[in-house]
C-alpha cells in the first residue's frame, strides 16, 4: 500500500494558454537535435559521429567521457548535418536532418516471460545500448544515473503541477503495457521500492493506477507537489550517502518499448502552451523536435519568449532551438523587455503575485488565468524579507539558510541543511516569489558543483 500525503505549502501559478485535450500530428520536422546541455553534470561529451554520417533512430551520437557506456542516441533516422559547438568547443547540440520515414536500429526483443527472468546485468546492458539510460536521473544532484550505483528506491512522479503542465493521462494514453514493463525492468535495480506517485485532484489515468508491483502513493495540494524531490522527501527522504533514481513516465515507457519492440522509440506528444499560442494543444512528434516546425503559424505575435519546458525551470530556446530531452511541453509567453512607469508601485490586477503587498490583487482572484511576461519586475537586492521561501517549500528544509550557506561556500553547512534532497525544480518557486530577485536555481546548482568538487 502506498502513502497518502497532503501537501499544504506551495503556490499554483495560474497562467493563460492551457492545452486543449486534442492531439494533432505535426508536420515531420526537417531537423531534430540532441543537446548535451539538457543533462546536468555532463562531463566532456565525446562525439561519436561526424557531419555527413547517416544514423538510424537508436544510433549512438555521443557519450559522457566518465561513463563511456552511457550513450546518447539519435531520436530519429537521417543525416548528421551539424555538430554545433560553443565557447571553448563546448558541445551544444548535434542536429540530424530527418528522413521522411523513421528507420529504426533493431535491438533485442523480449517477451513478457523473458523479462521476468532477465538478470540485472542483462537489463542494464540492453538499456545502455538502447540509449534509454539517460532517462534515469539520480538524486542527489540530478545527474544521469551512474550504472554502477545501487539505488535505495526508484521514484516516478506521475503528474506535473508546474504552470500550464500537460495532462499525463493524455500524454501517455494507451501506454499501459509499456509503462508496466518499464517498471518491471527498473524494479530489478533496487532492493527497495519503486514508487509511482499520483495526484488525487484529477482522475488518475489507468496507465498509472493499474500498475502492479509498485507502491502507488497519492498526493494532494499545490505545486510543487508534483516535483519528485518533494515526493521523495515525504515518502523516504534522501540522506547523505543515499542514491535514489527518478524517472519521468516517458522514460519508463521508452524503456518498456525498447524491451517489447526492440527499438529506441522517441515518438512522443509535446504540448504547445502559453498565452501567445493560438489554439494550444498537443502535437505528435519526436524527442528533440525543432521549435520552428512546432510553432509554425501557431503564434499570435513575434515578440515572444519560447521556453522548452515550463516557465519555472525551463530553458529559453528561441525560434531556431529544439525541445529539450526531458520536456513534455513548450511554453510561449510575451517577452518582457519594457519599461513601466512607476511600475514598482502602480496597482495592478493583471500581474500575478504570491504576495499581497500593496497594489497586487491577484490573490483576490484565484481562478483567473494570468498572462505573464518575462520581465523581472524589479532589481536584485540583498536578502530582506524572511519566511517567504518556507511558505512555498513543503519540505523540512530552510531554503534561505541553505542558499546563504552556498553563497558562503560552506560545504559542511550545505550538507547539514539538506542540499542532498533538492535540485533546481524543488526550489524553483522560491526563485519566482523572491522579493530580492535572486537566481535561486543557479545558486543551488553552484552549490551542488562546489560539493562535487570539494
Amino acid at each position: 500500500m502506498g502513502k497518502f500525503i497532503r501537501i499544504k505549502k506551495g503556490f499554483n501559478i495560474n497562467l493563460a494558454g492551457k492545452a486543449a485535450p486534442k492531439v494533432t500530428p505535426v508536420e515531420h520536422s526537417d531537423t531534430y537535435a540532441v543537446k548535451p546541455t539538457d543533462f546536468q553534470g555532463m562531463y566532456l561529451p565525446k562525439v561519436l559521429v561526424k557531419e555527413g554520417d547517416t544514423v538510424k533512430a537508436g544510433t549512438p551520437l555521443f557519450h559522457d567521457k566518465r561513463h563511456t557506456n552511457v550513450v546518447h542516441v539519435a531520436p530519429v533516422s537521417g543525416e548528421v548535418v551539424e555538430v554545433k559547438r560553443g565557447e571553448k568547443r563546448k558541445l551544444l547540440e548535434i542536429r540530424i536532418l530527418a528522413d521522411k520515414q523513421v528507420d529504426y536500429q533493431s535491438f533485442k526483443k523480449y517477451s513478457t516471460s523473458d523479462i521476468a527472468s532477465l538478470s540485472v546485468d542483462e537489463a542494464k546492458k540492453a538499456m545502455l545500448e538502447g540509449g534509454v539510460w539517460p532517462n534515469i536521473v539520480q538524486r542527489p544532484f540530478g545527474f544521469i544515473a551512474d550504472p554502477e550505483a545501487k539505488p535505495k528506491a526508484i521514484h516516478v512522479s506521475a503528474f506535473d503541477t508546474h504552470p500550464l503542465a500537460p495532462d499525463y493521462s493524455i500524454l501517455f494514453k494507451g501506454q499501459d503495457q509499456y509503462f508496466q514493463v518499464g517498471l518491471d525492468i527498473l524494479k530489478k535495480f533496487t532492493s527497495g521500492n519503486v514508487h509511482v506517485n499520483v495526484h488525487t485532484t484529477s482522475e488518475i489515468s489507468s496507465v498509472f493506477s493499474q500498475t502492479k508491483g509498485v507502491e502507488l502513493n497519492k498526493f494532494s495540494g499545490p505545486h510543487p507537489a508534483g516535483c519528485v524531490g518533494v515526493q521523495i522527501h515525504h515518502i523516504d527522504p534522501i540522506n547523505k550517502g543515499d542514491v535514489v533514481w527518478t524517472l519521468n513516465p516517458f522514460g519508463v515507457i521508452q524503456i518498456g518499448k525498447l524491451f517489447l519492440n526492440g527499438v529506441h522509440d522517441a515518438s512522443r506528444l509535446i504540448a504547445l502552451v502559453g498565452s501567445e499560442v493560438k489554439d494550444p494543444q498537443y502535437y505528435k512528434t519526436y524527442t528533440g523536435a525543432s521549435i520552428k516546425n512546432l510553432i509554425k503559424d501557431k503564434l499570435t505575435n513575434d515578440h515572444v519568449r519560447i521556453v522548452s519546458g515550463n516557465v519555472l525551470t525551463g530553458t529559453r530556446v528561441g525560434q531556431d532551438g529544439y525541445v529539450g530531452f526531458f520536456d513534455n511541453y513548450v511554453t510561449v509567453i510575451p517577452e518582457g523587455d519594457y519599461y513601466e512607469f512607476l511600475g514598482w508601485i502602480a496597482p495592478s490586477a493583471s500581474k500575478v503575485s504570491f504576495h499581497r503587498a500593496f497594489g497586487l490583487f491577484s490573490f483576490l482572484n484565484g481562478n483567473k488565468e494570468f498572462k505573464v511576461d518575462s520581465n523581472t519586475h524589479g532589481e536584485p537586492r540583498a536578502f530582506v524579507q524572511t519566511g517567504v521561501f518556507e511558505r512555498v517549500t513543503p519540505m523540512d528544509i530552510l531554503p534561505t539558510y541553505l542558499l546563504k550557506s552556498i553563497l558562503a561556500e560552506d560545504v559542511d553547512e550545505m550538507e547539514e541543511l539538506g542540499i542532498y534532497e533538492v535540485i533546481e525544480e524543488d526550489l524553483a518557486l522560491c526563485e519566482f516569489v523572491d522579493v530580492s530577485k535572486h537566481n535561486v536555481q543557479q545558486i543551488l546548482r553552484d552549490g551542488i558543483e562546489l560539493l562535487q568538487n570539494s
Binding site: 516557465v311 529559453r316 504576495h355 524579507q385
Partner: protein, 400 residues
C-alpha cells in the same frame, strides 16, 4: 511619460560602463528605477517569469501602514499643544497646522539626510541603493518627540545609517534596527532633549495652570517612591486642563503626549492589520510581543511587591511605545529572528523584557526600545538553535 523616458535614455550612456559618470551609476540607477521599473528580463535557464512584487513595493506597503500613525501624530501634536496652553477648543485645522509645521520638517530632514548618506555610500561602495531607507526614514520621525531640534535629527540619522547599517555592509546585513539606533543615539547623547517634559510642543505660549508633562510611564515610575496607586494617579491626571487624558480608553486612542507617531495604540493596530493582511509583517512577532508583555505584566500583578507592579497588566499594552514597537520595529525582517519558530521566541522575549525594564529600571522608563535592540542582538542566537534543531532532525533520520 515618454518625455521622461527619453530624458533617462539620453543620459544613460554617461553612467554605464565606460561613460564619464560611470562611478555615479548606482545613484542614477536608483533614480531611474524609481521612475520606471526596469526592462530587464529573466535569464536563459531557470525561472522565466517572476512575481510582480519587488523590494520597493514591499517597503511602500510598510510606509502605507505607517500613514495612520503619521496623520494621527500630526493631529495629536497640535491637539496636545492647544491642551497644554489651555485652549482645548481650538479648531481642527489649527491643530493640524501646528502639527504639520512641527512634524513635516522632521520627516523631511530624516529623508533628506538619510537618503543622502545612502547615495554617498552606494557610490563609494558600488552597491545599489537599497529601499530599506524608505521605511527607516519614516520610522525615525515617528519615534521622536515633536520638539526635537532638527540638527539632532540629522546627526542621529547619519549615525544610525553609517554605524547601524553601512558599517555592517548595508541593507540586509545590519544587526540593529536602524531607526531604533537613531533613537537610542539621541537618548544617550542628548538625554535632556528626549526625556522629561519634552513630549508637548509649546511654541511661544506658556503652559496652562496645573499642567504637568508626566507620561503614564513616569507616573508609574514615580509611584515607586510615592507609594500611590498608579491607577488612581492615572485617572486623576490632567484634572482641570485635560480631564481623563490617561483613562484607559484615551490611552488606547492615543490623544496624549508622547513621541510623534507612537501614542496611539489604535493607529498602530490599524497599521499592524495592514502589515498582517498584506503578509509583509510577521503576525507571529506582533502577537507574541503583546503576549509576552501581558504575560510578564500579569505575573508582576500576582507578585505585587510595589505599586507599579500592581498596575493592571492591560495598561502596559497601551502606554509608551509598546504597540508601535511591536508592529513596526520588532517586525523588521532583517533584524528580527528569521526562522518561523524563532519569531515566536523573539517576540515573546521582547514583550517580557519591555515590562522588566519598565518596572524594575525606572531610569529607562521606555523599555520597548531597549528590549528590541537587545533582542536584535540575540535574534541570530535564537535562529542558530532553530536551525540546529532542523539539522539534528535530518541527522537523526540518517542513522535509522
Amino acid at each position: 511619460m515618454k518625455f521622461l523616458r527619453n530624458q533617462f535614455d539620453k543620459v544613460k550612456h554617461n553612467f554605464e560602463k565606460g561613460g564619464k559618470l560611470e562611478k555615479y551609476y548606482y545613484a542614477y540607477e536608483a533614480l531611474e528605477t524609481f521612475a520606471f521599473s526596469p526592462n530587464t528580463v529573466n535569464g536563459e535557464k531557470g525561472a522565466q517569469i517572476r512575481d510582480a512584487v519587488d523590494l520597493k513595493r514591499l517597503m511602500m506597503t510598510v510606509i502605507i501602514a505607517m500613514i495612520p500613525c503619521l496623520l494621527f501624530g500630526i493631529w495629536n501634536v497640535g491637539h496636545q499643544h492647544f491642551l497644554a496652553i489651555g485652549e482645548p477648543g481650538a479648531a481642527l485645522a489649527d491643530k493640524i497646522w501646528i502639527g504639520s509645521i512641527k512634524v513635516l520638517p522632521i520627516v523631511i530632514v530624516s529623508y533628506a539626510v538619510g537618503l543622502g548618506v545612502e547615495f554617498v555610500f552606494a557610490t563609494i561602495r558600488r552597491h545599489p541603493v537599497n529601499e530599506g531607507y524608505l521605511v527607516t526614514g519614516m520610522l525615525i520621525p515617528l519615534v521622536l518627540p515633536p520638539d526635537i531640534p532638527l540638527w539632532q535629527v540629522a546627526i542621529a540619522t547619519i549615525f544610525a545609517v553609517i554605524i547601524g547599517k553601512e558599517a555592517f555592509g548595508g541593507t540586509g546585513m545590519n544587526v540593529l534596527n536602524v531607526a531604533l539606533t537613531a533613537r537610542a543615539f539621541l537618548y544617550f547623547a542628548y538625554p535632556s532633549d528626549i526625556s522629561g517634559d519634552v513630549w508637548t510642543y509649546f511654541g511661544d505660549a506658556s503652559p496652562v495652570a496645573g499642567f504637568s508633562g508626566a507620561t503614564p510611564l513616569s507616573i508609574g515610575a514615580s509611584s515607586l517612591t510615592t507609594g500611590e496607586n498608579v491607577l488612581n494617579s492615572l485617572n486623576q491626571f490632567g484634572a482641570g486642563w485635560a480631564d481623563g487624558i490617561y483613562s484607559f480608553s484615551n490611552l488606547f486612542i492615543g490623544a496624549m503626549p508622547g513621541s510623534i507617531g507612537e501614542t496611539s495604540t489604535l493607529m498602530c493596530l490599524i497599521g499592524g492589520l495592514i502589515l498582517v493582511a498584506t503578509g509583509v509583517g510577521s503576525w507571529k512577532i506582533i502577537l507574541s510581543v503583546f503576549a509576552g508583555s501581558y504575560f510578564m505584566a500579569f505575573g508582576l500583578n500576582l507578585i505585587g511587591a510595589n505599586e507599579f507592579m500592581l498596575m493592571p497588566a492591560h495598561y502596559h499594552l497601551v502606554i509608551g511605545g509598546l504597540a508601535f514597537g511591536a508592529v513596526f520595529m520588532a517586525t523588521d525582517p532583517v533584524t528580527a529572528a528569521q526562522t518561523e519558530s524563532g519569531k515566536w521566541i523573539y517576540g515573546f522575549l521582547i514583550g517580557v523584557l519591555t515590562i522588566i525594564i519598565r518596572v524594575f529600571n525606572p531610569a529607562y522608563p521606555e523599555g520597548v526600545m531597549l528590549a528590541i535592540l537587545l533582542m536584535n542582538v540575540f535574534a541570530p542566537l535564537i535562529d542558530y538553535y532553530v536551525v540546529s534543531a532542523n539539522k539534528k532532525r535530518r541527522l537523526k533520520r540518517a542513522t535509522v
